[in-house]
Amino acid sequence: MVLAVQDPSEGADPRQELRSRAEIDRSCQGPVTLFVASAVAWLLFGSLLAMAASIKLHSPGFLSHHAWLTFGRVRPAHLNTVIYGWAAMVGIAAMLWLQTRLSRVTLVFPRLLTAIAWLWNLAVAAGTVAILAGHGTGVEWIEFPVPVALALALLFGAVGLVSFYTFARRPPGHIYVTQWYLFGAILWFPYLYLMAQLMIHLGGATGVVQGSANWWFAHNVLGLFLTPIGVGAVYYLIPKVIGRPIHSYYLSLLGFWSLALFYNWAGTHHLVGGPLPAWLISVGIVGSVMMFIPVTAVAINHHLTMVGHFHMLRTSPTLRFVVFGGMSYTLVSFQGSLQALRGVNEISHFTHYTVAHAHLGVYAFYSMVMFGAVYYMLPRMTGREWSSARLIRIHFWGSALGIALYWGGLTWGGWLQGRMMNDAAIPFLDIVRFTIPFLWSRSFAGVLMTIGHVAFAVLVWRMLAGAREPARAPGPTLLGRPRGEREINPAEAQ
C-alpha cells in the first residue's frame, strides 16, 4: 500500500499526514529495529576487541598467549566489526527509515530486508572469526576473506535496490537534500567495495598500484559511504527536532556536489612520501584541501539552522548527539585537509596522530550522529519512551569525554612522536617508551566510551524487549528541564 503525504508546506491535512507517518514507521519497524539491535551488539563486541588491542600496545603481555588474541588479529577484527557490523548496520537502518520518511511511502519488502539483516550478521560473524583464526587478507580495511566481502557487497546492493524502489514509488514532489546523500551512499559503496575486491584481491592491480587502490577504497569508505549517511542524517534530524527549515538550499547543493567532486581524489594522501608518481599524490592532496569547500558549506548550513536553538542541546538527546557529531564532522574534515599537506604529513604519518584522526571521523562524527538517529527512530517504531534519562546522560558523557580524551591524547602524543621519529639521533626505542603514557590515556578513554556503549545497549535492550519502564512521567525522555518556566513542550524534545 502506498501512502502518500502531501508536502506539509502546502497545507496538507495534518490528520492524514500523521496517519501516514505512523503507517510508514510501522512498515519499517521489523527490519530497522533488527538492523539497529544487531549494530548495537557489534558495537559492544567491537568495543571489547578495541580494549584488547589498546591495552596490548602499552602492556604487550596482555592476552598474548593465544594466537587468536594477538594484536595482528584483534586490531583488524576490531576495525571490521565496528565498520561492517556497527557502522554499516546502523547506517542501513537510518538509510531505510530516512528514505521512507522523505519519500513519504511505506517501506517495501520488509521481510526481504529482515532476511538481509540476518545474512549480514552471519557474514560479519564469519569474517570476524576468519580474521581471528588468522585468515584475514592482511589488506587494511578489507581484511574479511573474499567470499565474505562479496556476500556483503551483494547484500548491500540489495538494500540499495530496495531503497531505490522505495524512492521510485514516491508521489511527485521536492527531493530533500538528505535523499541526495542517501543515494550517494547507495551507489558509491557497492561500487567501491566490489572494485576494491577486484583490484586488490582478485588480481586487477599489483605492486604499487595495489597500494593506491587500497587507499582509494579505504578513504572512500569513510567519505563516500559513512559520511553521506551521517551528513544526510544531520540534515534531517536538526530541522526535524527544532522545527525549522534548513538554512539554505543553495549551500546544500554546493556541499553535496563538491563532496561528490572532490572526495574521490583524496585517498592518495595516505601515500605521501610513498613510491607513487608525484602527480598522483599531489592530486590527492589538492582533493583533500578542496574538501574545505563542502565541509564549510555544510557547517555553515547546519550552524545557521541551529542558531537560536542551541538551548535545546540541554534537553534533547537526539539533538545533543547529532550536533556533537555535526561539529566533529567540521573538525575532522578541517584536520584531514591540513593533514594531507606534505609538510604536516611528514610528521603525522605513521604515528598515533593518524589513529586519533580516524576515530574523530568514525566515532566523534559518524557514530555520535548515529546514536542521535537511534534515539530519534526507535521511540517512533516501538511507541515506547527511553527508559532512563540518566542512562542517556551516561552514554553521552562517556562517549563525548571518551572520544575527547582519546583524540587529545593521541593527537598530542602522535605529533611529538612524529617529530622524534624524524630526528635520526633519537633511538627508536626511546620513542616507543615516550608514547606509553599516551597509550594509557587511549585505553582509559576506551573504558569511558565502552561504559557509554553499555548504557546505550541497556536502553536499546529495554526499549525493544519492552521491559517495564521504571515509573516516570509521560512524555519524552529529556536530559534536562527546558529553558525558562515554560512547561515541557514534548514537541521540542526529541
Binding site: 495534518p14 530533500y176 527549515p245 534548513i246 578542496m290 569547500i293 564549510t296
Partner: protein, 220 residues
Amino acid sequence: MTTNPHQTFIRDTADTDVEAIHEPIAREKAEPRDGYEPISIWLVFLFLALAGWGGWYLGAFSGDWNAMVYDERAQAGAAPAAEAKASDMLTLGRRAYVRCQACHQPTGQGLPGTYPPLAGSPYATGPAERAAAIVLNGLQGPLVIDGETFDNIMPAHRDLMTDLEIAAVLTYVRQSWGNDAPAVAPEDVARVRAATAERGAAWTAGELDQFALPEPEPAE
C-alpha cells in the same frame, strides 16, 4: 514556531485511528524543508581562492604529470634537472658504497692497522683519475695515510662495477664525512678504464704517487 498543531489535534480528537498513533510520532514536527537564503559572497570568494590554490599546487608539484617522476619538486628545464642529477649521484653512490663498507666501514674511518680511512685521505680526495684507478685495479703493499702505515690488499673492482657506479661511489666518498672534493663523472672513469685495460696487477703506493694517465693511445 513553537506550538505544534498536531498536539492540539491529538488531544481534541476522538478519532481512534489517530489515537493509536505512537505518541512520539504524534508530537514530532513537520518533515524538514529547505530554506532559500543566498550564499554569502565572501564564501564564494573563499572557495574561488581555494580553487586557485589547488591549481597552483598542481602546477608546481606534479612533476610534469610524468609517471616516472617521484620527486614533486622536480621541474622541467635544464637547471633544476642538473641539480636533481647531482643529488642522484650521491644517492646512487651511497647505495653502491655497500661494496666498500665492509672494509672501509660505513663511517669511512676504516679499521686501524687493517683498512685505511677514506675520510680525509689524499687518495680519496686527490685527482679523480687516480681514485678511479684504485677502485678499478685495487691496491697493495705499504701505504702511509695520516702517519699510519697499512700493508694489505684491496681487490680490483673492474669487473664488479660499471663506470656510473664507480663514479657515483667516488662522488659519495669524496663528498662525505668531511671530504669536499669535486664529483666524478662516469666519463672520467671510462677514460681510466680504457687506459688501464691492459694492466692486470694492483697498484702500489709508489706507482700512485707518480700516477698520470698515459697519453691517449695512438689508436685514432
